[in-house]
């Protein structure tokens, strides 16, 4: 594994070393699957599934690259955080989820939305602020939402999604008995987000109330410019549930199958045993925090090293080595994906902007008397 190639004492860097070879657990039974090597894991997979994974990884990669381009062309406003370097994690995690499960994410969520089944055109349209976007242009890049696929939001406030995700799991226990078909909640958080109070309060609630939830820590080694070891007194983030007796595992985020198996295992415990747990995926944020961040805090050598760890290129190479893909297949899939992303951009660009007439349409779900409707400069009261 490329992720395992660099040895380091720092746990964040060394994370993948452990993850690639063996599971790191705190109390959760170690999973045999994780103990096998990444290569073995790939050999056990049907070829068409692996090709599907590659296609999705490449789709997310190209989507994000085009989003950055569209941002530079001012088609997209605000903050825009990309999943570059997270593609294998996304594909693995999203394949582990069942349709009945609920997903709460951070603001770095375009790829998750696409892999969860939302049309890339609708995601791009939201980035463009159009009515056809997943949130009808009200949310933008950080706030994708789609009840149909049970994506219950991207959240721009760090840690803001964690208590609501925990409450969604509470609602599941209120309504349903545990079992293999019972829904569960997946709540994604960044590495740096495990330092916020909402995280700790929520883990405690999940622990005492036995909630069907999996907290997935997307450890991309940085929170903006701050490395994990500088921000977290326990940099083995998967251990952060130990104060709440919530077990955790750490996996290599560049290994889609390892991510999938870890989440699937955790989801099974959530559904059937109502046992919350933590999955930490370790990957590398390939570019800046958001599209406007040149990441000057990273040295040239570091940037080079990260590019060499590109999970999409690595997966492509591996599949070709395994004979699952030929160069021609791969090139064909790449072209297909390019066309899909072109279509997404075109769809977004041709979609209507929301009308100012709808400004008050969504502030409340239920109208009551005297709802404010004044625009700036309007009189407070109706003019007679």
């Amino acid at each position: 594994m490329p992720a395992a190639s660099r040895k380091s004492r720092s746990t964040a860097r060394g994370a993948a070393d452990q993850a690639a070879g063996a599971s790191a657990t705190t109390g959760a039974g170690s999973t045999d699957q994780l103990a096998t090597t990444a290569a073995d894991r790939l050999r056990g997979e049907p070829a068409d599934r692996l090709r599907g994974y590659y296609r999705m990884m490449q789709l997310i990669r190209r989507f994000e690259e085009r989003a950055a381009e569209m941002y530079q062309r001012a088609k997209i406003g605000g903050y825009c955080h990309l999943n570059l370097g997270e593609e294998a994690t996304i594909v693995g995690l999203m394949d582990a989820m069942a349709p009945q499960d609920y997903l709460f994410t951070t603001y770095r969520e375009h790829g998750y939305a696409i892999a969860r089944g939302i049309d890339p055109g609708r995601v791009m349209a939201e980035l463009f602020g159009r009515t056809t976007g997943t949130s009808k242009g009200w949310g933008g890049s950080m706030h994708l939402f789609d009840t149909e696929v049970r994506l219950l939001g991207g959240y721009g406030i760090v840690g803001g999604q964690i208590p609501p995700a925990t409450g969604a799991a509470l609602a599941i226990t209120y309504r349903e008995a545990p079992g293999p078909d019972s829904p569960a909640v997946v709540c994604l958080v960044g590495d740096a987000t495990t330092n916020i109070g909402a995280w700790h309060e929520s883990l405690n609630l999940a622990g005492i109330w036995h909630l069907p939830i999996v907290y997935v820590i997307i450890n991309n080694q940085l929170g903006m410019g701050t490395p994990v070891e500088k921000a977290s007194a326990e940099p083995d983030l998967y251990k952060r549930g130990c104060a709440y007796r919530i077990p955790g595992v750490r996996v290599d985020g560049n290994d889609a199958i390892a991510c999938r198996e870890a989440l699937r295992d955790a989801l099974r415990k959530a559904r059937e045993d109502r046992a919350p747990s933590i999955v930490e995926t370790v990957s590398y944020r390939l570019r800046g925090h958001s599209v406007v961040d040149p990441a000057r805090y990273r040295s040239k050598e570091e940037a080079q090293r990260l590019l060499a760890l590109d999970p999409v290129a690595a997966f492509r190479k591996r599949l070709i080595e395994l004979g699952v893909l030929t160069e021609e297949d791969a090139a064909r899939l790449d072209a297909e994906v390019d066309a899909e992303v072109d279509a997404a951009v075109e769809f977004a660009d041709n979609s209507p902007h929301p009308s100012p007439a709808e400004l008050f349409a969504h502030a409340y779900a239920q109208p009551v008397p005297n709802m404010p409707r004044a625009l700036p400069g309007d009189p407070l009261l109706p003019v007679e």
């Binding site: 964690i162 309060e201 409340y364 404010p372």
Partner: protein
């Protein structure tokens, strides 16, 4: 109509709503076994069980946020925060999440939840435990904020809040829990967003809400009996949305207005009401709109200091007299 306390009205309404709708459940610190810090939930754990009357740890941000998530899945959580002072710990979940989720996600997902919490000073609880923070929430589009002053409105507005599809801050007042009043029996709902003219009058309008509305009504009755001053009392009841029309109509009739509120003066409800009146009834005004509110200090513990800081009937009577004198009404 039965005469019951504000506390009893809240309790009975919670019970009725739990019976009416299986999606309604209660959560909060010490609401179950302990039966609530102010005993609003007495007996409900025994009747409805721990799933529907859920004790939480001391994690305001965590459990308020959990209520949001449960509401997103269609349940109707009614959260008790021991006092409004502790709601500050849940501010991110209330303001950045409960208030935003419906709009920010394009109207796909409502957040039908209620946060019940008492504010108010005068209990010698000192600075951190005596605040009136309702305007913080009333400032935020996406929230509804109601402040019942009477047992009847405690019932009607609580029923309305629980049945409403938006997040509602239901703000009680510690000093109102033992007050008594007539409460309609059976299903009784007060429309959110409507003010109530508690007493009619032609001489001056007193605008208020929550505990100070009760004080205002008392003062108005006494002034009429003792001095023949016929004051109209408008209880706002709902701070967001705000029923400006009822206020303006009253002032167009009386030509004078005083606002009394328990929170601090600057940027308070009185400021909003005064602005509304000057825009909606400027030509009708015979005197400047005056405001009676708390002195702008962290509320002290010692009784003489606490009394000096809080608005009361004496201050209100003084300001009413000054306003009437300014128009030579009394003489």
């Amino acid at each position: 109509m039965a005469v019951i306390t504000y506390r009893q009205a809240l309790h009975d309404t919670l019970r009725a709503e739990l019976l009416r709708d299986p999606n309604v459940f209660l959560m909060g610190e010490e609401i179950g076994v302990f039966e609530g810090s102010y005993k609003i939930t007495a007996g409900l754990l025994a009747e409805f069980g721990p799933e529907r009357v859920r004790d939480t740890p001391i994690s305001e941000e965590g459990f308020v946020g959990a209520a949001i998530g449960a509401a997103m899945l269609g349940l109707r959580p009614v959260v008790e925060i021991m006092t409004i002072n502790f709601s500050i710990l849940a501010m991110d979940q209330i303001v950045n999440h409960a208030a935003k989720i419906h709009a920010m996600f394009g109207g796909q997902c409502a957040v039908p939840m209620v946060i019940r919490t008492p504010g108010g000073g005068g209990q010698q609880l000192a600075a951190t435990h005596s605040q009136n923070l309702e305007v913080w929430y009333a400032h935020v589009p996406g929230l509804k904020v109601v402040t019942p002053a009477t047992p009847a409105d405690a019932k009607g507005l609580l029923a309305a809040s629980i049945r409403d599809d938006d997040p509602v801050m239901f703000i009680e007042n510690l000093a109102l829990y033992n007050t008594k009043g007539e409460v309609p029996e059976g299903d009784y709902v007060t429309e959110i967003g409507t003010a109530n003219v508690m007493k009619e009058g032609e001489d001056i309008t007193i605008v208020s809400y929550s505990r100070m509305a009760a004080v205002a009504l008392d003062v108005a009755r006494r002034l009429e009996e003792d001095e023949g001053i016929r004051a109209e009392v408008v209880d706002l009841r709902s701070l967001r949305p705000l029923d400006r029309t009822t206020v303006v109509e009253s002032v167009r009739k009386t030509g004078k207005a005083v606002v009394i509120e328990e929170d601090w003066l600057s940027y308070g409800v009185g400021a909003e009401i005064a602005a509304t009146i000057q825009e909606g009834a400027f030509d009708y005004l015979d005197a400047p709109v005056r405001r009676v509110a708390a002195a702008e200090v962290p509320l002290p513990y010692a009784k003489p200091l606490e009394l000096a800081a809080l608005p009361d009937a004496t201050a209100l009577v003084k300001v009413i007299h000054e306003t009437l004198d300014a128009t030579r009404f009394r003489g």
